[in-house]
Amino acid sequence: RLSTSQLEEKYGTSIDKGLSSTRAAEILARDGPNALTPPKATPEIVKFLKQMVGGFSILLWIGAVFSWISFGIQLAQGAESAFDNVTQLASTSWLGDQRVAPRSFHTSVLQQALVIRDAEKKEMPADQLVVGDIVEIKGGDRIPADIRLIAAQGCKVDNSSLTGESEPQSRSCDFTHENPLETRNIAFYSTTCVEGTATGIVINTGDRTIIGRIASLASGVGNEKTPIAIEIEHFVYLVAGVAISIGVLFFIISVSMRYKILDSIIFLIGIIVANVPEGLLATVTVSLSLTAKRMAKKNCLVKNLEAVETLGSTSIICSDKTGTLTQNRMTVAHLWFDNQIYSADTSEDQTTQPFDQSSPSWTALSKIVTLCNRAEFRPGQENLPIMKRVVVGDASETALLKFAEVVLGDVMNIRARNKKVAEIPFNSTNKFQLSIHETDDPNDKRFLLVMKGAPERILERCSTIMINGKEEPLDSEKAEAFQTAYMELGGLGERVLGFCHLYLPENDFPDTYTFDTDSMNFPTSNLCFVGLLSMIDPPRSTVPDAVSKCRSAGIKVIMVTGDHPITAKAIAKSVGIISATSETVEDIAKRLNIPVEQVNRQEATAAVVNGMELKDMSLQELDEILCNHSEIVFARTSPQQKLIIVEGCQRQGAVVAVTGDGVNDSPALKKADIGIAMGIAGSDAAKNAADMVLLDDNFASIVTGVEEGRLIFDNLKKTIAYTLTKNIAELCPFLIYIIASIPMPIGTITILFIDLGTDIIPSVALAYEKAESDIMNRRPRNKKKDRLVNEQLAIYSYLQIGIMQSVGAFVTYFTVYAEQGFLPSTLLGVRVDWENNAINDFEDSYGQQWTKYQRTYLQWTGYTAFFVSITIQQVADLIIRKTRRNSIFQQGLFRNKVIWVGIFSQIGIALILTYVLMLYWFVAVPFAVLIWVYDEVRKLFIRRYPGSWWDKNMYY
């Protein structure tokens, strides 16, 4: 806004001389280096402590403390502890919890900037820049700070990392807009100068730059709890609730049974501790890590483990357009010649073009495309596929060059044969580019003038039009046809260029003629119009499929882009974000020919919302849009607006995934339940803010991620069901011990052998379970209703399978005692005598007498047998947990090999722990079989009678 001299004054600098070194040093000391402060890293020790006391671990810690208390009580009593609950290994909680993902993405190369200081041009590191420095930038440079331009020649900057606009913006010295983001005379830190040169004054450095402010906006957005964390918390409450209520219940029972209060307290603690699923936390973490690893193989790098599951519960994906949905490069999409529109192949790896190339008009057009083009391939890339080669030149010229290379072959050779004699490059006033060439026909001594540019400007200069190779006068009818085609291609959101040529008459322009581009001593009107080419940043070929998969998985895909509404809508249509049949309010208005206001908004399923409209909207209006329309495109949005949109979606109760690559996306990435950054195109800020990084920038990877996320939720459910089941089998002995006063059926150490020994590998193995059918045809889970651990799961595990296991284990227990001489009837009520150290002639059912040590030895045998029978039944439990609905035989008993590793490890560990004694191994087998059969029956009824009472109560 200020004039150059005002600027000089304001920043105390001089355009020609720049700042003095001393002054610069002063400012540098005041403002600090020109670099973004990295987000504050939490100290490792804090992280470690958080890990140790966070969420689930706290349950283990409380369990451990209780164990010590009860141990202390027993120690004080001087009695040998009835059940030594001392070894609650809370340490397992963080053992498995080593985060797998790399922590930072600091790959920034030291940037150099050309600065004028002390009246000298100096190359210096960009972080030494201070406000008031005069910097020079040229095409290819990264802008080193926020710069107010004071001189510019054809300068264009790529603001995509900041605003998401895919097209380079031209920059000049003119003040054009109040909004600093829109005005032309400011270039922003971290954006790239694509072409041209410019000089400017540094006006902001470091964190005070626009990008710095956005970055701080991102760090200001708090991290939300992940859905899985909420589920685990819920699970902890549930387990704690069950443990405490059973504990208190039995405390009351034992008190009323005239146990000593102190003993009752120990029972209480014992019950609570027995309920803590010690191995679960490790299992959950390992499952998450496994999935994260699996996803990394599929190009999804997961930074935050819990995010794996979040993706699975995602119900809305807010996707950025450029680079995620599209290939982020201009490609020729359509051609118009001979009054006809042809489509070109826009896929990533095109090698040929399918359209009709027989027309002589095409020959002429292709010549113009080839010749009137300044872009060139970097040398030395002959072996690369054409689409992958690096080109020097702007986006449209690159597109045309590659297109020509694909269709015609060696473009450079064609250009060499048609030597260029004169050229006028594209500029914004002419809006055309022109060049004059010799022809490659040795008999044809004429010069060929080729021109391309904005279609309407080109048409103005034409008097004829080429139809099927013949020049025909350009009458109003043909002009009309041109208009229609132009509008149509423009309506597709494509950038259209017009092409025309003229063979200069040999008489007026002999081969010795010198062309002067300044005086334009050659005709630039009455040319022959040849055709139109339109270009677009085409969608990735995998995207439409991925979008439709998201649809069938009940996930709403919303496009949020900084791009123009028309382009955005066109891309949305082509990838299926707006499906073919749905209409926006504007479309309906157009179809019915009524004003937009009269259209019933409920009828429109799609909506394209402009950033400008969004600005004036109240939150309610935004909610309404998000609610009422299933297909939404937000165009021309600012970073703040992205944030608002994400928050709006979250208000609907949705779990929102946001994809993005630019710095402008980072606040939204952070705010989202799961932020997904692009690995290739993504900026560091975006990657830092995101929970996940797509290494191949491919939207389709998200779908894989969703599938994996849902799978892990299902598998966690199975794992928890598996783990909870045996808790009852571990708890029941204790309860019966209290009530019936039988010898203790299972010891604490044995319980830990199960929890941390035999059961760990199998429960991890469930994480490898393949998906049951329909995983991607289900709606995303409702995070309020579909809990990880729901009532059915708990009841089925605790009250049905758990009880069955207990019964099986007790049969084994009684068998052991009976076969050793204590018939079941003699065991009831013997606890006090049995545990009395002074009684060494305890009589069994056969009249034999047992010393205390012999009884204890027998009791240990009982522990072993109980342990073995729980293990055997857990094998059955593991097998039934493979599926929740399908029969095991549908799922395939052997498809998940890891399950078998789990089963064998389980049996192996049990064998080692029992010193390879196979005694009592088979008593519980009938019960294991029963568990399997019963669960098959349950699943059969669930499949057979969906929605029935059985389904509602038995399906978890």
Binding site: L799, Q800, V807, V811, A838, E843, G847, N953
Partner: protein, 278 residues
């Protein structure tokens, strides 16, 4: 995720009340009466079935057992020893010979214990050949050997009704635990040692602490109903010049005379008895 605001207390109470009983849907604790009925019925059937199954498998298991001898006896391979009287506190005798009250309980316990060995109770028992294992494998009705109380000498309670407690020479009966089928080799005997040598003089009845082989083997409660296990009485004569107020005695069982220890029954150490003197 929308920010969850803390619910006001009244609202959460109302929600709880709604959960406990919802008058609109007639739901009690989240289920209607019919739903509760169904679920209770289901669990009634389910647990009924499980109980039946449990009973059945237990029954099957019990069918595999013999009435006479347990299936396995590997957890009690060696017999334990036990003493009578058995004090409440961990095997500590505390008495004063001049105070009859202090040992009255020991005496009555001993008396009661020896009642089963009374001649009148042993009318069915036979006199067996001493020094030989009384093998009755082929006999259907196993006979029990007579254990004569006179074997216990001064500790039989016949001469001294206070079992020596009043004289400061207390008697303790040591018995070996019954184990079915156990046949000691050699000559089993009980030996007690004092921690402080010379502080106490130990007498055994029968002499040498011998247990006669004729009382072995034992055939179990059902087959060998009138079996009486052999006893060894240990009488302690505490040296009057002993300064110790506490005398610890440890009794061991050995199937062999000292010096021939190669058997599978090593020593079964009994309770360490501790005599506290006033």
């Amino acid at each position: 995720m929308s920010k969850e605001t803390k619910k006001p207390f009244r609202q959460s109470v109302a929600e709880w009340r709604q959960f406990v009983y919802n008058p609109n849907s007639g739901e009690f604790l989240g289920r209607t009466a019919k739903s509760w009925g169904l679920i209770l019925l289901f669990y009634l059937v389910f647990y009924g079935f499980l109980a039946a199954l449990f009973t059945f498998t237990m029954w099957v298991m019990l069918q595999t057992l013999s009435n006479d001898i347990p299936k396995y006896r590997d957890r009690i391979s060696s017999p334990g020893l036990m003493i009578s009287p058995k004090p409440d506190t961990a095997l500590e005798f505390y008495f004063n010979k001049s105070d009859a009250q202090s040992y009255a309980e020991y005496v009555s316990t001993l008396r009661k214990f020896l009642e089963t060995y009374d001649d009148s109770k042993q009318s069915q028992n036979i006199n067996c050949t001493p020094g030989k294992v009384f093998d009755q494998n082929d006999v259907a009705v196993k006979k029990a050997c007579r254990f004569n109380l006179s074997e216990l000498g001064q500790c039989s309670g016949k001469e001294d009704k206070t079992f020596g407690y009043s004289k400061g020479t207390p008697c303790v009966l040591v018995k070996m635990n019954r184990i079915i089928g156990l046949k000691p080799e050699g000559e089993p005997y009980i030996q007690c040692t004092s921690k402080e040598p010379g502080a106490v003089e130990i007498n055994y009845f029968p002499s040498g602490g011998l247990i006669d082989l004729m009382y072995f083997p034992y055939y179990g409660k059902t087959l060998h109903a009138h079996y009486l296990q052999p006893l060894v009485a240990v009488q302690l004569a505490i040296n009057s010049n002993s300064t110790n107020e506490e005398i610890a005695i440890e009794c061991n069982f050995s199937a062999f005379k000292p010096g021939v220890r190669t058997s599978k029954y090593e020593t079964a150490s009994c309770c360490r008895c501790c005599f506290k003197l006033p």
